[in-house]
Assembly symmetry: C2
Homo-oligomer: 463 residues x 2
């Protein structure tokens, strides 16, 4: 016998979870389509050079690696953004802008943790081929509408702009080589706190080692403490209103024009959000938002659930104007965001916002007498033709009470019994299992020609 | 620059294909749910020992192999049946019977061919935990209903029973060791013809080599020609009606009781199909159906499209009562079938039964004046709130005619224009792009408060 185990960091979805997850994905899809986005799908397996790119930090990406049957280096996608960039470069005739969504699993060989798996579903939305901040505004509006559609009201979309962070590097006279390391460190403020972030920024490497030669993730940034203090001052900028935040930002930069473009972009997004009627209490400019990925170039956004403050972001993204240029002669701007479906689903579960029904079946046709199987098969067929989700009982229980119990566990609301009495009278007994504790519900015998309408009226009553 | 290529045997889905594919999957799902099946999902990555089992022919399975981060042997699932068996063994509290569907990609490193890819989607349905032929009958009824739901009428479900093939082995005095080799050979009749199948069955290996020691797929069965003739006679049994086929079958077996159980099962399925109202012209008993997989134990089925006779089966399966026992102390019977979604989709495309729209967007809000962007954002938001799929134009074209062209290519039926005249009058111009060749359609200026109803009436007209 082979032990029926799952490999580490992987999991199954049982029916109740899957039914709720399908409903979740369907709601997200409807919002995306309402904004004019169209679906695509790319393979799970990509050329490994495409996945890893020329990132200096490729070694940090724990992708699942293997060779294809021809011996070419391959791997499983770890997000949908790199495959999108490859896709856009491969099909030059796509409309511009190209607004696509994609939903599907991605794989990362990270250390598993509660809520962190090695295979998880991401639902992405991206607009390719426009530099307009209207596209970024729309992404934020979609994040908003999606969460509202899912029954959430208490959430906060926080956004900033990489151009402002880049301006900070210029303003403080920092070498752009360290930008990604610094941004990734800032991104951890919420998780580890200001003190630890400052410690990381100022940590010096051992004497005589050129830290630029050390791989990303292991090297020491080694900023001067006064520079780190200025950075801490910068990320501390925040106010009640976006207008105040922008004012403080201008003051901090003290006339340095490097920040102008980033501020204009913030302002364009703010006016767009107003035009699109996004309630001001649902978003904020937060300069501590950096997002870890190296490829972001403009607006960056993330979303926290106020009732789950330690949960991390459930819907994040940003602009990545340079990424498609990795695979294409022409540089093509793009912006987008991604939902971690499993993380969001787990959050909704915590908040009691997901269904728990293990089945969508409406009627169980019981088997009173195995010799009359044809009668039950015919009856179930009739109900299905009327559009009712109908299961014919196929278990080993011969007693009707046990068959009712099966329906009850599956939360099937109605069971039909046709015994010899019903059969001789041309009737069927209809049992409403929803009115019951256990299996002692109401049961009515109705003529066969009234069966459908009787079932429909019961189903309306239980909804 | 990294070349944006796909690895061999892999492909992308563009929006028009994806929209049609989603509609296909949704229709299939509705049928499955009407029969009371519930969804599950399992990871793409499984323990390699689970995938390969103790099949003697494991080397034939071209699975994608790698190790997980802990160095455990892993691989990508090559079907949904093995993961189902593992799943059922892992969760002993699942209801019995457990009726589940699953849709998702599977991976095989086979040589690509037209219509054969290394990653492809299978949509499976299986009933676990019952030996009743009612379950197998239901699978055939579902195959029927699904294809009808997809607009197909000219198809033929062909079924047989492995117990009859096993009885043939007994009746002809053949060693069970060769059963799978013989069944796989028979399964190729349609593709390679009777003569070549007979040649394969009778082919002798080189002198002095024990063919049982040769790996499956490479070894020679070496039947005596008169035995092969008897097998050919057996697979030739077929008649107009199932009743005639069963009569011929009894005559062939000449009173040998080994065949009785298989015949009883055929008869139970036949009476069930009749009770469920499946038209008799849509199914046939075909004794040449063996299905290649080693794990089938009872009824086996496949489905051909009459208008694409060389297409192969689009919906196949069978009973596999032994498979779950690989992973479980208790043996659990099961039966089911699988749709190759991509193969079926390609077939429907050939038959002109799939949509080709590259978008589900209903309205394009054009940008007449970039300085009025807020007006257009607000307008698009209003339309979306009314449930209309609405795209705000974000491309680089400033001329409205070019923006209409964009909508036209995307087959968006309606475009809205708000220029200075409309703005001053509180109106919007509505252009119906469906009445046009190119972009010269009708355009009406309507007051803003009548806009929604005007759009709705146009959309009703174009449908």
């Amino acid at each position: 016998m082979i032990e029926p185990r799952l490999l580490r960091g992987l999991r199954d979805y049982l029916p109740a979870q899957m039914i709720a997850r399908q409903a979740l994905i369907e709601k997200i899809r409807r919002v995306y389509e309402r904004y004019g986005f169209v679906p695509i799908e790319t393979p799970a397996i990509e050329d490994r050079r495409i996945l890893l790119g020329e990132e200096t930090d490729a070694s940090e990406l724990k992708i699942f690696r293997f060779d294809d049957p021809e011996g070419r280096p391959a791997g499983l996608r770890f997000d949908h953004t790199i495959p999108l960039a490859r896709f856009v470069a491969l099909y030059p005739d796509l409309p511009r802008p190209f607004k696509r969504y994609v939903v599907g699993p991605v794989w990362r060989g990270d250390e598993p943790a509660p809520g962190r798996f090695r295979e998880f579903v991401q639902f992405d939305i991206d607009t390719v081929g426009t530099s307009s901040m209207a596209a970024d505004t729309e992404i934020i509006a979609i994040i908003h509408d999606t969460l509202v559609e899912l029954g959430l009201t208490r959430f906060l979309i926080r956004f900033s702009n990489r151009k402002i962070l880049n301006a900070l590097m210029v303003f403080l006279g920092l070498d752009p080589f360290w930008a990604t390391d610094i941004f990734r460190t800032l991104d951890k403020i919420e998780r580890v706190g200001l003190e630890e972030v400052k410690a990381t920024l100022t940590k010096q490497g051992p004497e005589g080692v050129d830290q630029r030669e050390v791989p990303a993730g292991a090297r020491c940034i080694g900023l001067a403490p006064e520079i780190a203090d200025r950075i801490m001052e910068f990320v501390g900028i925040s106010g009640g209103s976006p207008v105040e935040t922008i004012e403080q930002l201008r003051r901090f930069f003290n006339g340095c024009s490097a920040v102008d473009e980033g501020i204009v972009e913030l302002e364009q997004i703010l006016s767009g959000l107003k035009a699109q009627g996004i309630p001001p209490e649902r978003f904020i400019i937060d300069l501590s938002i950096a997002r870890g990925l190296a490829y972001y170039t403009g607006p960056v956004f993330e979303t926290r659930l106020l009732d789950l403050p330690t949960w991390g972001s459930v819907f994040s993204g940003g602009r990545f104007d340079g990424l498609i240029g990795r695979f294409s002669e022409t540089s093509i701007p793009a912006t987008g965001a991604s939902i971690g479906v499993d993380r969001l689903f787990a959050a909704l579960e915590q908040l009691g916002l997901v269904g728990t029904a293990p089945s969508k079946t409406q009627v169980l046709v019981t088997v009173f007498d195995q010799n009359q199987l044809g009668v039950y098969q015919q009856l179930a067929t009739e109900l299905r033709r009327e559009g009712l989700n109908t299961e014919l009982y196929m278990g080993e229980e011969t007693r009707i009470g046990r068959q009712f119990k099966y329906a009850d566990v599956q939360r099937i609301p109605i069971a039909i019994v046709v015994g010899p009495d019903e059969l001789s009278r041309g009737e069927a007994s209809v049992k409403n299992l929803r009115t019951t504790f256990g299996a002692a519900g109401k049961q009515h015998s109705v003529p066969r020609d009234q069966l459908i309408s009787h079932i429909r009226s019961l189903l309306e009553a239980v909804e």
